[in-house]
Amino acid sequence: MAENQNKRVDIAAAQAKLASGSSREYWKGLEELAETPEFTKYIEDEFPERQSIVTMDRRNLLKFMGASLLLGGLGGCRNIFMPQEKIVPYVKSPEDQVLGRPLYYASTFTHQGYGYGVVVQQNEGRPTKIEGNTLHSASLGRSDSYMQASLLSLYDPDRLQIVQDASEPASWDDFFGILRDKISSRKEAGGQGLAMLFEPTSSPTTQRMIAQVQAKFPNLRVFFYDPVPRDAAYEGTARAFGEPMELLYDFTLADVVVSFDHDFLHEGPGHVRYTHDFAKRRDPAQGNLNRLYAMECTPTLLGAMADHRAVCRSGDMLSLVADVARKLGVAVDPSIPAQKAVPEKLLNAMISDLMSARGRSIVTVSDYHSADVHVLVHAINAALDNFGATIRAIPAVLPSQRTSEAQIVDLIGQMNSGLIDTLLIFGGNPSYTVPKNYGFNEALSKVNLKVHHTLYFDETSERCDWSLPASHYLEAWGDARSFDGQISVVQPLIAPLYNSESVLEILSVFLGAFKKSYEAVRETWKPQMAADFEKSWREVLHNGVVPNSNPTPITPAFRSSELMAIRPTRSVAGIEVNLRPDPTIWDGQYSNNGWLQELPKPLTTLTWDNAAILSPRTAERLGLDREDIVEISSAQGVIQAPVLILPGQMDEAITVHLGYGRTRAGRVGSGANLPTTDRVGFDASPIKPREGKWSFSGAGVKKVPGRWTLATCQEHHYMEGRDIIRAGTPEELAKNPNLQPEQKNPEKLEKSLYPDNIFDPTGYNQWAMTVDLSLCTGCNACVTACQAENNISVVGKDEVRRGREMHWMRIDRYYRVRHQGQDLEAERIMGPMGNSIFEPNSVETYFMPLMCQHCEKAPCEPVCPVAATVHSHEGLNQMVYNRCVGTRYCSNNCPYKVRRFNYYNYSDNQDQFQRSTVNGVRNTTEDARQLLRMVNNPNVTVRGRGVMEKCTYCVQRINLKRIEAKREGRDLGPDEVVTACQQACPAGAIVFGDMSNPNSQVSQSRRDPRTYKLLQETGTRPRTTYKVRVLNPNPEAGQA
């Protein structure tokens, strides 16, 4: 352009224009003034220098045309490189749906037939997170691992997806056609030959429809079976009070709690609620401390919480309870021998505690003990006047569960005798869960038409003619009752992912026409609700619970006549074996749930396996080491199991968990046939004794050659004399409120050469967390909640074994052994030399939830070469995933070792489905990945391979609340933000909030004199602080 200007400025013309006055008033340059035609053309043409087609020669023109055509054609090649995607907007927007904002619906999760109210978060139509429902009495807004993880089962790609006739795909119409034929052919005989096997259900609608079916077909048989039944408990209450009852404990009122092997904090109906209530009495700031005595056969979380713990063989439990009863003045059959398991001093202290807490104590026993023991415990409670005070009762929620054992035996008998022509199995997996020696599978083969309605194609489906896909509870309507009888509605949040139907829908066919579950549930409630049904119904859906549905608890009257019927049990010498449902995958129903498989089992921190749990002394005596394989035999059968040594386990006793060794669970849970390096547990049911017993004595134990790799998350169990977990009695705390060691002066420890704040924190929220070790029961609900909230990957057994589990938070577990008054926790006593001092009663267990401490002077931050982990003005230690190059230096420098690294591309869930890979070759299945992506929280980045990750204090929740507050033009409230772990914790041990606000819960919690900082001597100044665990031992009990 410059060239043109120089050439074409015609000064003379410009001067002439100016002189003539015909020029423009304003001009930009002399060229414009001159208004030469060249310049005018130049201005007018957008690309003045371009080639014109007219001036181009033929050859060049053709070249350009050809090139243009070619380049134009390249655009069509996109499909070669990229998948074709169609974007379809909502044609009709769902009600209340604002993209990017979650919606919440109330529903009900059921476990063992009991309902737990939940509130489910839904993002763009996908359920993404489950929390407790604050209005539901069994959860009070809190949750447990099963509840949290049930979400993953919804998206499990291994679920049964289509109706199968044998192994052939079929349709529901095919099945209903056959079913209708059967029904009509059997109608005359009143349904003779038809039978149904249910899992226990508390659902009023299911119960109503079953009753209607039975009314219509009087000869149709209905059975209920649960591998973890409530037989003993119901039988006990039936004998003690005249009818099967559900006992409701009020732990907030109990000063003294005695548990006979009953881990009410982790198992059984109401455990979430009970943990919540129990915790209320473990915080000295909230009131008088209670005192917990645990007499147990195998270490449980409750035993870890106990102020006094003693072990007792299952076989001796009756005499122990009888002894306690005797000492409390209950008339017991004198032929029952006195107990020898528990030190007399401890027992006497317990008795005197109980005596002085009449009406303010609770004595409980677990369902794993006989009805006799239950009756005795009821007698004790009656003697202590606890009924009506701390213990009340309602009629049994699952009355069918009084005879679970008898029913399955009856069913097998009937099948064997050919009385059953058609068996419909609704849920459950009896082919696996019924102990092998019952012969269920053999009997089942004699049934003409076998139908399994199930979530998964499992061991039972394999043996059935028809397999029908069942709807997940988030896909179909229903209802359930909780441990205290409260009724809540199961509300679906998503249309069935597969072609599945619910139990209610199949039952409706028996009653006539097919009816959707929604209709069935409404039908149940319509007559029972107020006149304006639609309005009340909407209210029920909104709240999740049916108002005033709890039966009024009564004070049960103990019938002492039953006491004399209790006879001593024959005690058998030899090694005792206790069977228990697995603490994470239960009876095997959660086998294919990666979150639960990889959840470290409380106490053992074992993942992906069950094991024969032995005490150190017994293992030493038998010459067994961890990961050795033992053969355990009983009168019923033989199993092979890996050895796991657990301090605190009773000597000469083995504990094995049921639920493993699945052969048809899915890609996650099946693994019974893999080599022992990859095997996923063993099936313990072959040695399960009959008659519903949970233990037997005189087991044969034999070492067999081989090693069985076990993946535990924690390999070292002693604090090495370090100041990690602090625990003390109220007297000790009165002297030194946070048990700060003398040599540790907090001010000196936190002295730093560097300025305290790089940023000015004023005007910003300052996030902080406190964890009360007094309240934490180690139940792992927080760990699963964190996994669900933060899209944390499941990595598989092999990776866990390599120490690469991804959980952002973990529950550390330490032991402390007191031996002859001497604290031996500093000694390394796992070696063969030290085992002899492992008196099981002297083992104390401590838990410590550990997540990123959000250090104010975080050691991880300065070492990152690319500034991928940085500090925010709000005190968050932030991890910038897309900046991380993965040097792992931050993790090395973290004294808490809370950082997790994506060694592989874990987030595509490959490992979850390809555990047994050839030499580390990692395969993916696209369909599975697609489906599992749906479970992800859209507000949390899914981390790819090679980046570091860690707890963020749920920064997405902070931001969500901040945006809400901004929209409403207000400041963020002090306790508005709730982290996932905090929300899940049934004990309320975790408090999170803004510590810059002195009135926030977290500020108050931090002011608690029990507060201390973990590893304060490293100068990290963690934002997460811990509170000393308070022990409340009876000084008269003496040390074991």
């Binding site: 169990h717 370090r722 190059v885 980046v947 590893l1015």
Partner: protein, 470 residues
């Protein structure tokens, strides 16, 4: 004929009847004549080449799969990757020490070994450099560690010792390569002048117009001296900075102020061991005993002995300060080293680096090539174990016993390590084949200086480039 260093009473830096011509022939004919290479050359080049394939395979698989193929875990974030990085970097140090510090100190005995040692420096740093790059979870963005202008407006984080590492190592390799190349120019010119084949063009290009004029020599000497001055601090700084990767952190067993000098001494120790490992067989195969004499070897052994003692002192101090600090974590670290699950490594380390090299106190042993060679192997192993003791053994049991774990390397860890060794061997034997392994012109200078009667120049032996030809 024995050439004597005037500063030494018993020098034997050149043994044999050397003339300029013979020097040229002895060294340069290795380049011009393939038949001069013994069978061992084929064997070792072949082995090196084959093992290099393992390296390529390991790298490919690593980039495809991720760090998970290695044994690294939580808590042991660094394993073989950083052990090998530090080990290789350390090995390079002998070269720099010989070329720079000994040059500044006017140590004539460096002349015959500096080329070889410098080549080792460069190859070792090449091997070392692979690790920091590949140990990252996402090696394709490892360039973020460099300060380059970008639209993110993000630079590296200069507080991190890893960034100091980036600068230290890149400076080191740049200066070492320059130093090496400049030193090669006069020899390239000799090669060019003697070349009869088309290789003349290549030598011509590489010699950059060197004609051997006084001005060239003057500039050469100045440049070489300046580079030597630049390299001297590098000898100390590179490994000091590498040691800061550990010393800056708060991991018990890493957070030690002793690390920088102790690492430097260890590096020189390892470097000389590696130089001797290669030099002892090569001087024999190529009949260079006259130029790389027992005197050289004796001195190198003495340096090894001295640095080895410093290293051993470091080991003792580590145990001492663990006790002296009264810090329970440090105390446990020492206890874990002595009695923990990896105690074997610690014991082996003391034997390899602390005890066995003491044999070099005996002058007789410093003359026994077999003994020296074996000691060198132990030192190499020992220096590797030292990094094993420092890196995974400190990490595997740090503050909270709950997160303690074990570290087990996998086949890919070994594959990569072996692969770099193969790569190194391959490069060394290619170097022997294609470049003058002894600094010919410096040897000529030595010859001229040591010759009684300096004027008696043998005209036929003088080459254009040779210094003695002035």
């Amino acid at each position: 004929m024995v050439a004597r260093d005037p500063h030494d009473k018993n020098p034997e830096l050149l043994v044999g009847n050397y003339s300029y011509k013979r020097m040229d022939e002895d060294v340069l004919s290795l380049i011009t004549q393939q038949k001069k290479h013994p069978f061992a050359w084929y064997i070792f080049l072949g082995i090196g080449f084959m093992i290099t394939q393992i390296l390529l395979l390991s790298i490919t698989w690593l980039v495809y799969q991720g760090i998970g193929i290695w044994g690294n875990n939580q808590p042991v974030g660094w394993g073989f990757d950083i052990i090998n990085f530090v080990w290789w970097i350390g090995i390079g140090h002998a070269g720099t020490l010989i070329s720079a510090i000994l040059l500044l100190l006017r140590q004539q005995w460096r002349n015959s070994i500096n080329r070889f040692a410098e080549a080792m420096t460069i190859f070792a740093v090449m091997c070392a450099g692979l690790y920091p790059l590949l140990h990252t979870g996402r090696p394709w963005v490892a360039y973020w560690l460099f300060p380059y202008p970008n639209v993110l407006a993000m630079g590296p984080q200069f507080r991190s010792p890893l960034i100091w590492d980036v600068f230290a190592v890149t400076t080191y390799i740049t200066v070492s390569a320059l130093f090496w190349f400049i030193g090669l120019i006069p020899d390239f010119a000799t090669l060019r002048d003697r070349a009869t084949t088309k290789a003349k063009t290549v030598w011509g290009l590489l010699s950059m117009g060197w004609r051997g004029s006084s001005r060239h020599w003057l500039r050469y000497e100045q440049a070489y001296l300046i580079l030597a001055g630049l390299s001297t601090p590098l000898v100390l700084s590179v490994h000091s900075i590498v040691s800061l990767d550990f010393a800056v952190s708060i991991v018990p067993g890493w957070n030690v102020t002793l690390f920088p000098p102790y690492f430097v001494a260890g590096a020189v120790f390892a470097g000389f061991a590696m130089v001797l490992t290669f030099m002892i067989p090569i001087r024999r195969w190529y009949k260079l005993e006259g130029m790389i004499t027992m005197r050289h070897i004796d001195w190198m052994c003495k340096i090894m002995l001295a640095t080895g003692l410093i290293v051993f002192y470091g080991y003792l101090m580590e145990v001492f300060y663990a006790w002296y600090s009264a810090n329970p974590y440090e105390l446990y670290m020492a206890e874990n080293r002595l009695f923990g699950p990896y105690a074997w490594a610690f014991v082996a380390l003391w034997i390899c680096n602390g005890i066995l090299p003491l044999i070099l106190f005996f002058p007789k042993m410093r003359q026994n090539l077999k003994v020296i060679w074996i000691v060198c192997q132990f030192v190499s192993i020992g220096m590797w174990l030292e990094r094993f003791v420092i890196i995974p053994m400190s990490l595997h049991r740090d503050y909270l016993p709950s997160s303690w774990g074990m570290y087990y390397p996998t086949v890919w860890d070994f594959g990569m390590f072996l692969g770099t060794m193969g790569f190194f061997i391959m490069l060394m034997f290619l170097f022997i084949r294609f470049l003058p392994i002894i600094n010919v012109f410096e040897m000529k200078e030595l010859l001229s200086r040591m010759r009684p009667g300096r004027q008696a120049v043998e005209p036929e032996a003088a080459s254009v480039a040779g210094k003695g030809g002035e």
